[in-house]
C-alpha cells in the first residue's frame, strides 16, 4: 500500500479527490447539456424550416437569413432567461467549458458560413457536407469529454450525413442533411429535455424528502 499511497508524490487521498472531482465534473457537464436540450430542438426546427422555405416557399433567398436571425435571437433570449433563473452559482467550471466548446463551434461555423455566403460558395457540394462535419465533430467531442454514448450517436449521424452528402446528388445530400437534423437535433433534443425533466423531478422529490 505504501507504494500506492505515495506513488510519484501523489497520495491516495489526492487520487481519491481527483477521481471524485472528475466524476462530479462529468455529471455536471451532462446536466448542463441536458439543461440546454431545447436549443438542439430550436436549431433543428430552424434548419428544417429554412431548407423547406428555400426549396418550396416564396423569396427563397430570405429563408436562411430570416430563420437564422429568429433562432439566434430566440436562443439568446431563452439562454439569458435560463441563466438568470438558475442564478450565477448553478454553473460549474465544467459547464462553462462545455459552453465554451459550443461557443467555439458557433464562432467557427459562423465565420465559415459568413465567408462562404460572401464569396458565393454556399452552392458548393462541399458546403452541406462541411456543415454536417462541423456539427458532428462538436457533438462527438462533447460526447467524448462527458463519456456520453447518446450524444456520440448524434454526432455519428451528422458525420454519416456529411459523408453521404459527398457521394450522392445535391438533392439527396439535402435530404441527408434533413434526416440528420431530425434525428440529431430534434429527437436528441427531446431526449435531453425528457432527461432534464426527470432529473428536476427527482431533485424536487429529494428536496421534499
Amino acid at each position: 500500500m505504501t507504494n500506492f499511497d505515495n506513488n510519484g508524490g501523489t497520495t491516495r487521498e489526492d487520487l481519491m479527490q481527483r477521481v471524485a472531482l472528475m466524476e462530479s465534473m462529468i455529471a455536471e457537464g451532462r446536466e448542463s447539456t441536458m439543461r440546454y436540450g431545447w436549443i438542439f430542438v430550436a436549431w433543428g426546427v430552424c434548419y428544417i424550416l429554412a431548407v423547406l422555405w428555400s426549396s418550396i416557399g416564396p423569396h427563397p433567398f430570405l429563408a436562411w437569413p430570416v430563420c437564422l436571425a429568429i433562432t439566434i435571437l430566440g436562443v439568446s433570449v431563452g439562454q439569458a432567461r435560463q441563466t438568470k433563473a438558475a442564478g450565477s452559482g448553478a454553473f460549474s467550471s465544467k459547464s462553462r467549458t462545455l459552453g465554451g466548446v459550443w461557443m467555439t463551434f458557433g464562432i467557427g461555423i459562423s465565420l465559415f458560413c459568413a465567408a462562404a455566403a460572401a464569396s458565393h460558395h454556399i452552392g458548393d457540394p462541399m458546403f452541406v457536407s462541411v456543415l454536417c462535419f462541423f456539427l458532428g465533430t462538436v457533438n462527438i467531442t462533447s460526447a467524448s469529454i462527458y463519456r456520453w454514448k447518446m450524444q456520440g450517436l448524434a454526432g455519428a449521424i451528422w458525420w454519416a450525413a456529411g459523408v453521404a452528402a459527398l457521394f450522392v446528388s445535391p438533392n439527396d445530400g439535402g435530404i441527408a442533411f434533413l434526416v440528420a437534423t431530425f434525428l440529431s437535433q430534434i429527437v436528441f433534443g427531446f431526449y435531453l429535455m425528457a432527461k432534464e425533466r426527470r432529473r428536476a423531478s427527482q431533485q424536487t422529490i429529494r428536496a421534499i424528502a
Binding site: 479527490q17 467549458t97 467555439t104 464562432i107 467557427g108 465567408a115 460572401a118 458548393d124 462541399m126 467531442t141
Partner: protein, 209 residues
C-alpha cells in the same frame, strides 16, 4: 468570513484545495500538449512535403502526393504515440484527457472528411480547403479554452483567418500560399513553441509534471 467558510457545507480550505488542484491540472494539460507537440511538427513537415511534391514534382506521381503523405503522417503519429506510451512517466489527468478527446475527435473527423473529399474528387474546392483550416482552428480554440492558453488561442485565430481568407481571395494561388503558411509554418512554429516553452514555463512556475 464564517459564512464564506461554510457556504453550502464547503469550507474555505476545500475551495482553495480545489482551485489549486484545478490549476495544477490545467498546467499538466499544457505540459501534455507540449509533450505531444511533435505531432504538430510532423504534420507540418508532412503537409510541406505533400504540397511541394504536388506542385514541383507533379510528374512523379503528383496525384498520389496527398494520399501517400497523409498515410505516412498517420503511421508516424500512431508509431510515435505508441513509443511515447511505452516511455517512463507517461500519465494524464482530466484536462489531458479532455484535450486528447478534442484532438482525437478532430483527427477522426478530418480523416473521414479528407478521405471522403479525395474519393469523391471534391478536394480541389476552396470550401473544402477552408473547412479543414476552420476545423483545425476549432480544435486549437477549444484546447486553448480548456487550458487557458493564449498562444494556442492565437494559433486558432490564425487558422480561422486562413479559412476565411481562402474563401475571400477565391483564387488557386492565394489558396496554395495560405495553405502553405497555415499547414507548414504555423503548424511547425506552434509545435516547436509548445515543445520548448512549456518545460520552461513549468520550471518557472514550479509545477510538477
Amino acid at each position: 468570513m464564517s459564512d464564506f467558510d461554510t457556504d453550502n457545507g464547503t469550507t474555505r480550505d476545500d475551495l482553495v484545495q480545489r482551485i489549486a488542484l484545478m490549476e495544477a491540472m490545467i498546467a499538466e494539460g499544457r505540459q501534455y500538449t507540449g509533450r505531444n507537440s511533435w505531432i504538430f511538427v510532423v504534420w507540418g513537415v508532412v503537409d510541406l512535403i505533400a504540397i511541394s511534391w504536388q506542385y514541383y514534382f507533379r510528374h512523379f506521381g503528383g496525384r498520389w502526393a496527398w494520399p501517400i503523405c497523409l498515410f505516412v503522417g498517420v503511421i508516424l503519429t500512431f508509431g510515435g504515440k505508441m513509443l511515447q506510451r511505452r516511455g517512463q512517466g507517461y500519465s494524464k489527468n482530466d484536462e489531458c484527457a479532455r484535450v486528447m478527446s478534442v484532438w482525437g475527435m478532430m483527427g477522426l473527423a478530418l480523416g473521414i472528411y479528407v478521405a471522403s473529399g479525395i474519393l469523391t474528387h471534391f478536394d480541389w474546392q476552396y470550401s473544402y480547403m477552408a473547412a479543414i483550416l476552420m476545423m483545425i482552428g476549432m480544435a486549437h480554440a477549444i484546447s486553448a479554452m480548456i487550458l487557458h492558453w493564449r498562444m494556442q488561442g492565437l494559433a486558432a485565430a490564425i487558422y480561422w483567418a486562413g479559412g476565411v481568407a481562402i474563401l475571400a481571395f477565391n483564387s488557386g494561388k492565394a489558396t496554395t500560399a495560405i495553405w502553405l503558411f497555415e499547414m507548414g509554418i504555423v503548424m511547425i512554429v506552434f509545435g516547436l513553441y509548445a515543445t520548448r516553452v512549456e518545460p520552461n514555463h513549468s520550471r518557472a512556475t514550479g509545477v510538477r509534471a
